[in-house]
């Protein structure tokens, strides 16, 4: 009626398809960012704190072939896999590399009696209960939960250690099983075909009645 009409500019024809595209992409985007961003694989895996002494598992456990239990000697008996006291290092380092600056903090701790403040790498929330001996003596190797420690210069978290991850194995532990005498041999694999290994693991599970519990009270007590 009036002389002035509002004329939508030509580009406004793009608005509807544009809005559709944005509307379709945004939820997908949000879902993906939340799924990946909040996953413990993003937030937890790969945590590699610097340590006060440049202690190398790749050297001691890998190259020199020391057994994990030499240092983590409570791992088969207790819930905790104790971090070794300075005395354990001094079994060798009173003689080996004794003037090295890298060993100096060890000597200092040895003489003063104060422990070395190693930084914790793996740390479950305080409301979750975990027990090393229950796993190690049943034939679950360190490698299933810690990765190839014997190749790490600095220890880092290799697995998510989330509840879903624990349960994945508790529901189907077969693949993680081996003879408990071999748990600290991180590079060990079954000889033979995959079927033979699976049969052997199933037999092992049957023989030792390995049946990890999925009750909440197993891990939340």
């Amino acid at each position: 009626m009036g002389r002035y009409h509002f004329v939508f500019p030509r580009w406004s024809n793009l608005l509807l398809p544009g809005a559709l595209v944005v509307g379709a992409v945004t939820p997908l985007y949000v879902v993906l960012v939340v799924a990946y961003g909040f996953s413990p694989k993003t937030t937890d895996v790969g945590y590699e704190p610097a340590q006060p002494v440049p202690f190398s598992h790749a050297l001691h456990a890998g190259e020199l072939g020391m057994d994990c239990r030499y240092c983590h000697n409570t791992v088969e008996r207790a819930a905790k896999a104790a971090i070794p006291p300075t005395q354990t290092c001094m079994n060798c380092h009173t003689q080996i590399h004794k003037d090295s600056p890298q060993i100096a903090p060890l000597l200092e701790s040895y003489q003063s009696g104060n422990p070395i403040a190693w930084n914790r790498v793996h740390d479950l929330p305080d409301f979750a209960f975990f027990d090393h001996s229950a796993h190690v003596t049943r034939g679950v190797s360190c490698v299933s939960c810690h990765g190839r420690i014997d190749r790490m210069e600095v220890v880092y978290q290799h697995e998510p250690l989330s509840m879903g991850w624990c349960l994945e194995c508790h529901r189907n532990p077969d693949e993680a099983l081996r003879d408990p005498a071999l748990v600290t041999d991180l590079g060990w694999t079954f000889e033979g075909t995959a079927e033979e290994a699976a049969a052997e693991q199933a037999r092992w599970k049957e023989l030792h009645q390995i049946n990890p519990s999925q009750d909440c009270s197993t891990c939340h007590r």
Binding site: V33, T42, L64, A82, P115
Partner: protein, 232 residues
Amino acid sequence: MPKFFVYLGLTVIVLAMLPPALIARARTRNTDARRIHYIQDMDNQPKYRAQHANPIFADGRAMRPPVEGTISRTADVDAGHRGRGVVGGAWATTLPPELPMTMERLERGQERYEIYCTMCHGVAGYGDGIINKRANELMNNPAIGNGTAWVQPKNIHEPEIREQPVGQIFNSITNGIRNMSGYGAQIPVDDRWAIAAYVKALQRSQSARMEDVPPSRRGSLPVIDLMPAEEE
């Protein structure tokens, strides 16, 4: 289209690419940065667990070492045969009565020997373990040795050690001897006896003759050469 919308759209797209980029970075790299816990719940409760730090104490330990002159009620104290390897003032020549000699104990001893002893003493006990090898290399090369001063671990097949009673070997493991530190704190007492028993078996094995083997088993013995190769 007004330039404004174009810039806005481009900015949004660029910003939207940031989170995936950060996520990709976090998933592919190891970092020293603290773990991210979006929801803290009761992850870190005001209590101390084993080997945690407690700033209240000067040495920072939450686990308190026992007061000097005291002993834990649950400590495994045994001042007799099992605890000290002594019977009637002399080194025990047998295992303690509560730990009878069995094949399982010897096998346990072998396993423990290979965890705690082989690195220095070698698989067969000749004092030729990998640490000995490495330490000698370091000692002979002061440029990389950082003051390494190494005494070769004892060859357990030397005559005076072969003659030692099992109780004395147990004592050396427990309290250390000369350059070797004691393993009393590192290895539980029953395992130390198992190792001592295995060491005795290892010593005998190196001078074993066919007559020592029961006739019924002679045919089935595997032939293994454990003697180390002669070195210059």
